[in-house]
């Protein structure tokens, strides 16, 4: 049995809440650009792709209450990893997908991971997708993550995307695209924190094509030091539908944040809203916590913790 190092275990814990490799259910751990362990379950098949790096994940019709974990860990400096993961989720499934990528770079070369995830979600499904990105290591090499997530959501299905980048990633460009069929519902919660000289930008395109499709995009970010963030959440209403985009950023130090939500309607019964706000932590909030006995630094920490939860 192949063993994980302590660093690899720590990264795995950070991005997928896994203290050790699971012993049951469906999972696939990708380590330094190669499959490390893979396991299919009765209802979920994981098959390596033949023509390019990556896997196909087949979730059988009516699968309920199962979790698939497909974390990626990179701890080799200079690694440039590109992977295609396709999820084929049949009708009537209720599943949770735990993805995530941790880069630990102690060397001087850039380490890079591009995960391209495509979801084909059938009818009447409930899908939760959790993705955490995290970087660590004290090398001078960059930790770079450019993920793409593409979803085709079938009739009456509900999808919840929970994507967070909790620190240590030097440069990220994320792209998320979703197309929704009749009665489909999408919720995106995106959380991002940057510090130092980091840059992050996130583009989201949602197409509300089906009648009575709905989406809610919530983006919360904290930009510290001299970091830079750009958000482009775009929602297009092509039918009777409802969409809501909410971007909220806390800016600190010398950071720069741009938030450019766009809503466009091509149907008279499309109802779309966007809200965007950027500001520093409200002085009143810090003051309130200080009157409860926290010092200014602790108060700030608490406020950010809550904001990004």
């Amino acid at each position: 049995m192949k063993e994980l190092t302590e660093v690899q275990k720590m990264m795995l814990q950070k991005v997928a809440d896994m203290a050790k490799m699971p012993t049951e259910g469906a999972y696939n751990l990708r380590l330094n650009g190669k499959g490390f362990v893979r396991h299919s379950s009765e209802h979920i098949d994981i098959v390596p792709k033949e023509d390019k790096p990556g896997i196909d994940i087949y979730v059988k019709e009516g699968t309920k209450g199962e979790t698939v974990s497909i974390p990626v860990v990179i701890d080799q400096s200079g690694m440039d990893d590109l992977v295609y993961n396709d999820f084929h989720i049949a009708d009537g499934c209720d599943v949770t997908i735990v993805a995530g990528c941790g880069i630990h770079n102690c060397g001087c070369d850039d380490s890079k991971h591009n995960g391209i995830h495509t979801f084909y979600v059938g009818k009447n499904c409930h899908v939760r997708y959790q993705e955490k990105h995290y970087g660590a290591g004290d090398g001078t090499g960059g930790r770079i993550l450019d993920p793409q997530t593409v979803l085709y959501i079938g009739e009456g299905s509900e999808v919840y995307l929970d994507m967070s980048q909790i620190g240590g990633v030097d440069s990220t460009h994320r792209y998320t695209k979703c197309e929704l069929d009749d009665g489909a519902e999408l919720q995106i919660l995106e959380r991002l924190m940057t510090h130092g000289e980091q840059t992050a930008d996130s583009e989201v395109d949602v197409f509300l094509n089906g009648v009575d499709s709905r989406c809610q995009i919530t983006s919360r970010s904290v930009a510290k030091d001299a970091s830079k963030q750009v958000f482009y959440p775009r929602v297009q209403g092509n039918n009777q539908c409802f969409g809501h985009v909410q971007c909220d950023s806390i800016i600190m130090g010398d950071a720069k944040v741009r938030s450019i939500p766009e809503i466009s309607a091509n149907h008279v019964d499309a109802s779309l809203i966007h809200e965007a706000a950027i500001g520093k932590i409200a002085g009143e909030q810090i003051l309130k916590l200080m009157t409860l006995g926290l010092d200014a630094e602790e108060a700030e920490q608490k406020i950010l913790e809550g904001f990004l939860r």
Binding site: R220, Q285, K288, M290, T291, G293, D295, I303, G306, F307
Partner: protein, 241 residues
């Protein structure tokens, strides 16, 4: 015991300094229940902020149990046992009621302990403990959560700024009961800024603050009739005019 000696406070206005507190002398012994009342804009909240350290007095000294705390920060005063429930508490995106209560208590509260404080302010704890302290709360709910945080924090001088504001009749009696029980069971000084007769009647002592000064001070039986006389006086004046 809290002592204010010759406290003055002025803020910068458009035309130079505006005097908001003028030569306030005040002693609040341990275990006393004091209500501060007076007209809007009289300086009550400013006085509370000066005690908490949110505003620095331009003149005068503040002593807590004999120690000069005038130059201490808000955090230091909070740790020494001064607590202040804001008149208009802020909201926090993403912070849960249970988090705020734990911050106030200075330790991670168990579910039951957190709920206990909410019950004391008349909130159905099950429904609120996991809610965010954000714009989804109504004004009265937010206000009661603010009071609950002060109960969770405790302290030896507890100041509540218009705790009754926006609170319904049912929760109100629950709240006055809570104040009475703190008064009975602890040695803390309770200072409540209020315009409410039912709260004023609970006090050991009433302090009238008007135009930045303490204009009246004394036991309820003595001061309350004067307040009533004053307000009706103002009315008849209006009628005559």
């Amino acid at each position: 015991m809290l002592e204010l000696k010759n406290i003055c406070f002025s803020a910068k206005g458009e035309t130079g300094g505006v005097e908001i507190l003028r030569n306030v002398d005040l002693t609040i012994p341990n275990g006393k229940f004091i209500v501060i009342t007076g007209p809007n804009g009289g300086g009550k909240s400013t006085l509370a902020k000066v005690i908490m350290g949110v505003e620095k007095p331009t003149e005068g000294r503040i002593f807590l149990n004999g120690e000069d705390i005038t130059d201490l920060s808000v955090t230091e005063r909070a740790r020494k046992g001064i607590s202040y429930g804001f008149q208009a508490p802020p909201r926090f995106k993403g912070m849960k009621v249970s988090d705020l209560l734990s911050c106030a208590a200075g330790r991670t509260l168990s579910h039951d302990d957190g709920c206990k404080y909410l019950t004391q302010v008349g909130l159905c704890s099950r429904e609120y403990i996991d809610r965010d302290v954000d714009t989804s709360l109504s004004g009265g709910e937010l206000k009661r959560i603010e009071i609950a945080t002060i109960l969770a924090k405790g302290g030896n001088v507890m100041i509540f700024d218009e705790p009754e504001a926006g609170i319904d009749l049912w929760s109100f009696s629950r709240l006055t009961g809570t104040f009475e029980s703190i008064h009975r069971n602890t040695d803390a000084s309770i200072v409540i800024i209020s315009h409410q007769e039912r709260i004023i009647r609970l006090a050991d002592e009433i302090i009238m603050v008007s135009d930045g000064r303490i204009t009246e001070k004394g036991p309820v039986e003595e001061i309350f009739p004067k307040i009533l006389a004053n307000t009706t006086g103002a009315c008849s004046y209006l009628e005559e005019a």
